[in-house]
């Protein structure tokens, strides 16, 4: 449930949450969907460290929420403590989403491909699926609308990272290249944070590229765990940066004292 990171005084869930947090900034305006413990920890931690102005609407409802702890649902009201606003207009929400007033959203899919597209609909053929998954929910919406997309996965393996999705529930960089631009979509996926590494996206092809390796993981191991060929950066691949003691302290004691983040592992 909580693999230690070799040489770092933390576990993999903590490294992922801190890494996610560091990708956020003061002009991040985010909200979250279901089963999004790592991003929720990331938003809360960023706000308590380097990005005090960051906006986060808990379950897309509770702006500036500052919950005492994180429960077993990231869509539930247990996340809404001390919010400055409980939004009650779905119409305004979709205006904020389509107009990029909210600029940040994070996905994880049961399958993800090299261009950061996601599948949460079916495993196997759509008409006679091997596994019927929950469905895309807001993935098909937000993938097309939100400029800063972050992906994450706690199960970096070839079943998750596939060459070809069984169903494209949500748009990442689409077919790659200028596909999003041609469709009039803003921005696109920026990072994919996994339990093995961090990917960014190669600027021209928009395919996943190794950005950093978590301590103790090799590029070969990542390639083996990935169902598509990963792009490599020029030069050495760095090690994912070490969380500070302060970050870990805040994460463990203030942001997520009950370790809800481990529910994803």
């Amino acid at each position: 449930m909580s693999t230690p990171v070799p040489g770092y005084d933390c576990t993999i869930d903590e490294l992922m949450a801190v890494t996610f947090s560091r990708a956020m900034s003061n002009d991040t305006r985010a909200f979250n969907g279901a089963v999004s413990f790592i991003p929720v920890c990331g938003y809360l931690l960023a706000r308590r460290t380097h990005a005090p102005e960051l906006v986060w609407a808990a379950s897309s409802i509770a702006v500036d929420a500052d919950p005492e702890e994180i429960g077993d649902s990231t869509l539930s009201d247990s996340l809404w403590g001390r919010a400055s606003m409980l939004s009650n207009s779905p119409f305004d929400f979709w205006s904020y989403a389509q107009g990029a007033r909210y600029n940040t959203f994070a996905f994880r899919g049961a399958q993800m491909d090299a261009c950061g597209n996601v599948n949460n609909t079916v495993i196997g053929p759509y008409e006679s699926p091997k596994v019927r998954l929950p469905g895309g929910g807001g993935m098909a919406d937000l993938g097309a609308m939100i400029p800063r997309i972050y992906l994450w996965s706690s199960t970096h393996d070839p079943r998750t990272f596939v060459e070809r999705l069984d169903f494209r529930s949500g748009m990442g960089w689409g077919d790659g290249g200028d596909h999003r631009e041609r469709m009039g979509m803003p921005g696109g996926p920026r990072l994919c944070i996994t339990n093995l590494c961090v990917f960014d996206f190669e600027p021209a092809s928009k395919r996943m590229r190794l950005a950093s390796l978590h301590p103790g993981v090799t590029a070969d191991q990542v390639q083996e765990a990935t169902g598509f060929e990963i792009a490599m950066p020029d030069g050495d691949v760095p090690i994912t940066a070490r969380p500070t003691a302060e970050e870990l302290h805040i994460l463990r004691t203030e942001v997520d004292p009950t370790s809800a983040r481990r529910r994803e592992f």
Binding site: D77, N88, P129, R132, P134, G135, A144, S169, M183, M185
Partner: protein
């Protein structure tokens, strides 16, 4: 002239084959008491519209009530997949019409606004749109003057919307308190009829004293069915949270058909009344904490 009725009568007013939109979002504010009663009455061939749903869809599928599900998402979140929904779709016993949240919302808006379609960017670039190519229910278009891509979402007629709220009066004026509608207003606006289950029936004075808190005007609500803790095992903020224990026990039981049959009978559809159901699940109907 009172619109107050019983769960039994409210459910009886839903005909077999109807298109029924189910309120709530995921584990929040679903009209579980009404849904249970539909399952108890063994409705057939329902077409469910459920934007982001879970247990409500699973109960109706388990009860054999469902022909088709129009949905963006059906799950128990981190507590697992909705087991009967999953099995029924995999076996082809229940058809699914695949949407995203906003594609479905826009179809409901086209209906409520009486327009041939509502536009959105939702779904562009995904496999969802291709599934609708034959029916044209949602279709990709290109705007002439700008060349921009959009998706035209056509009307979605809904026979009955089922929502859960905190309070209503005899005339149907209804309050979710505080006023957090998730996307329930979209289904209420689109539906030909709406049935609201409520935690409690109150005097009209409760509304006239705080009219800014009213959620649905009386002309949008056709029937009011009292159901204390009527969203159980889902939440009804701020009165009570969802019961993870029920979700877990339900999923556990669903691993074996015989165990599930017993569980579903004893813990869900078997109890005669909603109070009996709550008692069978050790839930108090006392005042909210």
């Amino acid at each position: 002239m009172s619109k107050v009725t019983t769960l039994e009568e409210a459910a009886a007013s839903v005909p077999d084959g109807a298109t029924v939109a189910i309120g709530g979002l995921s584990m929040n504010s679903a009209p579980m008491a009404l849904v249970r009663e539909l399952a108890r009455q063994q409705k057939k061939d329902l077409e469910l519209v459920a934007i982001v749903a879970g247990m409500a869809v699973d109960w109706l599928v388990a009860g054999g009530c469902v022909r088709r599900v129009l949905s963006g998402l059906v799950s128990f979140e981190g507590l697992g997949l909705a087991p009967n929904f999953r099995a029924a779709v995999q076996s082809g016993r229940v058809a699914i019409e695949e949407y995203s949240e906003h594609l479905l919302i826009c179809r409901l808006q086209a209906q409520s606004h009486n327009l041939p379609f509502m536009p959105t960017r939702a779904g562009l670039g995904t496999d969802v749109l291709g599934l609708h190519a034959a029916s044209g229910a949602v279709r990709e278009e290109k705007d002439g003057p700008t060349g921009e891509h959009y998706v035209a979402c056509t009307r979605l007629p809904v026979d009955v919307a089922l929502v859960h709220a905190h309070e209503a009066d005899e005339r149907g004026t209804t309050r979710v308190n505080p006023k957090l509608v998730w996307m329930d207003n979209e289904i209420v606006n689109a539906a030909a009829r709406t049935v609201a289950s409520v935690e409690r029936v109150v005097d009209t004075e409760a509304f006239t004293s705080q009219p800014e808190r009213t959620t649905y005007p009386r002309f949008m609500i056709d029937a009011v069915a009292p159901a204390p803790r009527g969203s159980y095992p889902c939440s009804c903020f701020p009165d009570y949270g969802h019961d993870s224990g029920f979700f877990t026990a339900y999923s556990q039981a669903a691993r074996d058909p015989e165990t599930f049959r017993r569980f579903f009978h004893e813990q869900v559809v078997g109890p005669d009344t909603w109070d009996d159901f709550l008692a069978a699940n050790d839930v108090s109907t006392g005042a909210p904490a």
